[in-house]
Symmetry: C2
């Protein structure tokens, strides 16, 4: 029942018979310390089960050894793939990740700055954050990396996947199958990725596609709900903003007695884990989540060191055909 006091660096120093400065040096792996002394310190550390106080380290060094990740939706599996990879990189250099989910637009900057009181840098995965806020971040010289968002006029490193080309390829695939009238189940209107994808779909007019956009937002539920409106335009294919929306759409189609792809084709984007296991397996675009997450870390790490790496090119994503697309059904109505 005894209330044991926290073990501090002082205790270790006393136990090892050295100064606190020396203990600190040993802990940080400094080489300018007598090996025998270092050994004594290490032993004392073990013995007392000493754990440095993070707050004190943060205060004294001005570094928190952690980075904040700001994302709009923790439940979207697409983000997992990314931050998992980032986490690996971060852990390698003993950095911790502080994941913050939040949705309300407008509040973004406040949240970021708040998080910033305990982190050294920021990874912004949020597509919706206002450019204004980003510029603010940039002007404060906060090490920040933007993920999947290319914002002209914002002076921050960005890493992103090329959305345009693979989406065009996907359209090409649909066109080849004879589709003409297609509905695009949109993502969040302010999201860069949504704009890029829609741009590609529109571009596909030259391939013979006749696209219409239906508002939605990249969740299963939204995909499910937007499907009815999309069907109002009598399309032979549904191009969903992402896999989740595609899955929702397929579920709704099934409910309505429409088969995928016999009656109507559906495509996704991202290739989340489920895409391959769904019925039918989703024709989609394999977004290089791991590479993206890794690259994000590399850029961020450089920013933390005060370096500014050259802007890397967009990562490429690959179109993959599975079972959810097929020949267009003869124009109905």
């Amino acid at each position: 029942m005894k209330e044991r006091r926290r073990v501090t660096i002082r205790d270790v120093a006393d136990a090892a018979g050295v100064s606190v400065a020396t203990v600190s040096r040993v802990m940080s792996g400094s080489l300018t310390v007598n090996p025998e002394m270092a050994e004594r310190v290490r032993r004392a550390t073990e013995e007392l089960e000493y754990r440095p106080n993070g707050a004190a380290q943060g205060l004294a060094s001005g570094m928190h050894r952690s980075v904040g990740v700001v994302l709009p939706d923790l439940s979207n599996p697409y983000f997992h793939g990314i931050i998992k990879a980032t986490n690996v990189g971060a852990a390698r250099e003993r950095y911790r990740m502080l994941v913050t989910e939040w949705q309300e637009p407008g509040e973004e900057l406040g949240v970021c700055l708040d998080v910033l009181s305990r982190v050294d840098g920021l990874l912004v995965l949020s597509a919706r954050m206002e450019a204004e806020s980003l510029r603010d971040l940039a002007s404060r010289r906060v090490p920040t990396v933007l993920v999947n968002r290319v914002e002209l006029g914002v002076d921050l490193p960005m890493v992103a996947v090329d959305n345009f080309s693979p989406m065009l390829e996907l359209c090409q695939h649909l066109a080849t199958l004879g589709h003409r009238r297609v509905a695009y189940l949109a993502g969040s209107p302010s999201a860069w990725q949504n704009r890029e994808r829609w741009k590609a779909v529109q571009q596909a007019r030259i391939l013979g596609l006749d696209p219409v956009m239906v508002a939605s937002d990249g969740t299963i539920e939204a995909g499910y709900e937007a499907t009815d409106e999309a069907l109002g335009h009598d399309p032979t294919a549904l191009i969903a903003f992402n896999d989740l929306a595609a899955l929702g759409a397929i579920a709704r189609l099934r409910e309505l007695g429409l088969r995928t792809p016999e009656d109507i084709s559906v495509t996704g984007f991202d290739d989340v884990a489920l895409a391959r296991y769904a019925d039918p397996a989703l024709t989609t675009i394999v977004s290089p989540k791991a590479a993206l997450g890794e690259q994000a870390w590399v850029m961020l790490e450089a920013s933390l060191r005060g370096e500014r790496l050259e802007q890397p090119p967009l990562l490429s994503a690959a179109f993959v055909q599975r079972a959810s697309t097929g020949p267009a059904k003869g124009a109905r109505a």
Copy 2:
């Protein structure tokens, strides 16, 4: 291009013409301060865009205003429902959540203690952590709450869902449909939830079920892969440890030309978002994720205040029948 120095409490104090102590009091909402002064301070705070330094606050007060969440797999949507709810509670009291994912068993305690250098308490969602480590945590008087894990001999508050009863109900449902030979696609062997669910399945012998267990681990991939072995036992139904495994199993069955539920029934557990949208929609058990997350926060918050709430009863989960289960096919072979 000017390198602006961080705004400190000192700057605010000077700007408002008061002492730092007063600024601190205003920031913390203390009432023993002249309203007019408080207003001046607030204005200065705005003006200078002052953000308290988290590390310094942590050091001085001994509180970090954040809690650590330790979980084995970020990509399992089941956890999202839980931590989302916890996060709401935590945010309400201005606590931040530090989510740490890690898998390697053995390392658990080290990770926890490491995380502990910057948090006030811990939420352990990891089913696999050794009881020994938990006892250690308890003996260190670290405010900790165990989620979905009931461990006798560990003196820590726990919140959990009743796995046994609904699983038994699910078995009853299968029995009623005429199933006899069933295969249980197991979760992680050391997980409490897995033991409970398997116990219920075994208990169902008295309902006429004849269960066999197949090793697996609660991911889509694992469910997919364990299916072949399960089929070796010639079951009429597959009882998966959770929805993810069930989805994987269904995908494999489809590949093998077996229809669900006509040829073989499949059940899940958890009711993740996709369960309802899958084809066929999953018969599963609706785990009260939000309630669990909330309750976890309530318990943890009490622990942080040094109080020890009474152990709450297990939360109940509801069996829900959807389309993935049907009458047993006449015993084959």
